[in-house]
């Protein structure tokens, strides 16, 4: 317990965690408006133009991941390897990137490029910041590898791939080499960028779950590494089976995508092994990492299915792909980033742990509702567009989207509640006081005879754990 509290992040680290949280909440808010516009595109075309809303929504989502990844990396480095020089300046530059880019996109000065919506000049800033992060990770690689060699590999590689993906994407936009070549580079750069941040976040997660003195996951076997590297580098071609790219790239992509089923099976196995844990039993961040596991499984499974050419022909370019990417982004990236923040909050409070588990479940349920609706609309679009022109099938597809604004609102609200709970825990505002209240209630219950009265409020976490052991506390008590 004492060791845990010594690891609590300082005020500067908490400030670094605010930025991604604001980006996430803003993305959720804009997403609700985009949800309404997807049902009624004619609504407020002047004031709320999709020309601004769509890139702003995508930018806020991407900037959540980038700022969250940066914050998580700095916190892990500080916890494991000491000081991160120039953190204040680094945070200022991240704020400049987010505020500056959002302002320019909102006033119609974005790049007009999918996913990398910020003005191309801003890439130099964010690319530079991630280069600094990569250098720092490489400098502390030995320390990180001692904690978890697999985690260190994924984190280091992921950060490098983020920089390479950004550089590739920007050089294509600046050089404008023509549509056919641009399509290949665009997908390759985007896949590298996304693969980079996913690898880095999984690496951070592996490093974060290790308690002081614990040894984390060792490097995977050589053959599993070769398989992972092949899949990481080659799957990009499955995004454009129908576009005029060389068939060799597409064939390699198909093979790599099908081999990703091995990763799917490994994740299934992990989940089966972890079955049976109850909320509040493990550390507070456990709920986040388990949710990330479940949604990783869904993301890989749907990715493998979508890479099958005849399914790809029907669903690619429809809202089904939005469901796939939203599921990955919220279900995996959001859970990993918030889980890492919670891990280093240094609170050992079962009541907080149970509340977080509940909030994570609500987000999961809301996310499933949104994704299922998008998937159905996407499937309808994919089937109808085979025979009908857009003007004829559009209104039918929009019918499927009618519940989307309501589901989107629920998702935004649950994300808001989850962020509030995480934030209160980080600030240490509500948790202890509420836990004392819960314990007072439990003490008054007839079945709580095994719980000793509270003498010292500093030991609330341990008392609650004791109350759970004797069966005197339930999730309902905590709520």
């Amino acid at each position: 317990m004492r060791q845990e509290q010594a690891q609590r992040p300082c005020a500067g680290s908490r400030l670094l965690m605010v930025l991604p949280t604001i980006c996430l909440l803003a993305a959720a808010l804009v997403g609700v408006i985009v949800g309404v516009k997807s049902v009624r595109p004619e609504w407020q075309t002047g004031l709320l133009s999709m020309r601004t809303l769509q890139p702003l929504h995508a930018f806020l989502g991407v900037s959540f991941v980038l700022t969250g990844l940066a914050a998580g990396t700095i916190i892990v480095l500080e916890q494991q390897g000491g000081r991160f020089a120039g953190r204040g300046l680094f945070t200022g530059a991240l704020v400049l990137f987010v505020v500056g880019s959002a302002g320019l996109i909102a006033t119609g000065h974005g790049s007009g490029v999918e996913y990398v919506a910020w003005p191309i000049g801003m890439t130099v800033l964010i690319g530079g910041l991630f280069t600094i992060l990569s250098v720092n990770v490489v400098r502390h690689l030995r320390t990180l590898a001692c904690v978890s060699a697999e985690g260190a590999w994924l984190l280091g590689l992921g950060l490098v791939l983020v920089v390479l993906g950004l550089a590739e994407r920007s050089s294509e936009v600046m050089a404008a080499p023509g549509m056919t070549r641009a399509l290949t580079i665009e997908w390759h750069a985007l896949d590298t960028f996304f693969a980079g941040w996913n690898a880095a976040l999984y690496g951070l997660g592996m490093l974060a779950i290790c308690r002081p003195g614990e040894r984390g996951r060792p490097l995977r076997s050589r053959w599993m590494f070769v398989l992972a590297a092949f899949c990481l580098l080659s799957t990009f071609g499955h995004h454009h089976y129908m576009s005029p790219q060389p068939a060799v790239l597409k064939s390699i992509a198909l093979l790599a995508s099908m081999l990703a089923a091995v990763s799917f099976v490994r994740h299934v196995w992990t989940l089966i092994r972890e079955r049976g844990h109850k909320p509040g039993e493990g550390p507070p961040e456990q709920a986040f990492f388990r949710a990330a596991e479940v949604f990783t499984l869904a993301a890989i499974g749907s990715g493998v299915l979508l890479a099958i050419p005849h399914i790809n022909i029907v669903l690619h370019g429809t809202l089904a792909i939005v469901a796939h990417s939203m599921g990955s982004m919220i279900g995996v990236n959001v859970m990993l980033i918030l889980g890492i923040f919670v891990r280093y909050a240094g609170r050992n409070d079962p009541a907080w742990s149970i509340r977080l588990t509940r909030r994570v479940r609500w987000v999961g349920v809301a996310l499933v509702l949104v994704c299922v609706d998008l998937l159905l609309a996407g499937a309808a679009e994919g089937i109808l567009r085979l025979d009908l022109p857009f003007q004829e099938f559009d209104s039918r597809v929009r019918l499927w989207l009618v519940p989307l604004p309501a589901f989107g609102l629920v998702l935004a609200a649950t994300i808001g509640l989850l962020c509030r709970e995480v934030w209160l825990g980080l600030q240490n505002i509500a948790g202890d006081a509420e836990s004392v209240k819960v314990l007072r209630i439990i003490e008054a219950k007839p079945g709580a005879s095994g719980v000793e009265p509270i003498q010292d409020e500093m030991e609330v976490g341990a008392k609650l754990a004791q109350a759970r052991t004797v069966g005197a506390v339930s999730s309902a008590d905590v709520e």
Partner: protein, 150 residues
């Protein structure tokens, strides 16, 4: 005791080297792909269908397409927004006159774009170029697996 510490340090160094090697291998693989993309004749099919002197106009069209935020609502080969139709084959399916009218006057949720004639010509040339590169979406789920050429 000291011997144990030396072993541990050696193991730690070996592990770090292995981590660095694995990062290097993947980055090298990435560079091979970038090299492959830059040497493969990716533009060949499109170039067959388009006179060489219109290249500059197509590139200007691509820039106008991006600057006007067309990607927010429209996609080409599935990459882009979902509010409006995918425009890969809009040129052949809707016709040039229809495209010019829609760009200039707007339609339903799409606002009118105040573009100069030169810029409208460039966007139309860009869409014509996209149209000639292939068919998307296809008219059958049992189309040739790796795309339909023109």
């Amino acid at each position: 005791m000291a011997h144990g510490r030396t072993d541990q340090a050696a193991e730690s160094r070996g592990q770090t080297r292995q981590v660095l090697t694995r990062i290097g291998v993947v980055v090298a693989g990435y560079l091979v792909y970038v090299l492959a993309v830059s040497v493969l004749p990716l533009g060949a099919r499109a170039a067959d269908a388009l006179p060489a002197n219109s290249d500059a106009q197509v590139l200007l069209g691509q820039r106008v397409w991006r600057a006007s935020g067309c990607t927010s609502c429209h996609a080409i080969y599935g990459l882009g927004g979902h509010t409006g139709p995918d425009l890969t084959n809009a040129y052949s399916r809707m016709g040039e006159a229809y495209l010019r009218t829609v760009i200039g006057k707007g339609v339903r949720a799409m606002p009118a774009f105040e573009l100069s004639d030169e810029r409208v010509d460039a966007v139309v040339a860009f869409l014509k170029h996209a149209d000639r590169t292939g068919v998307y979406p296809t008219s059958s789920a049992f189309a040739p697996v790796f795309g339909v050429g023109r």
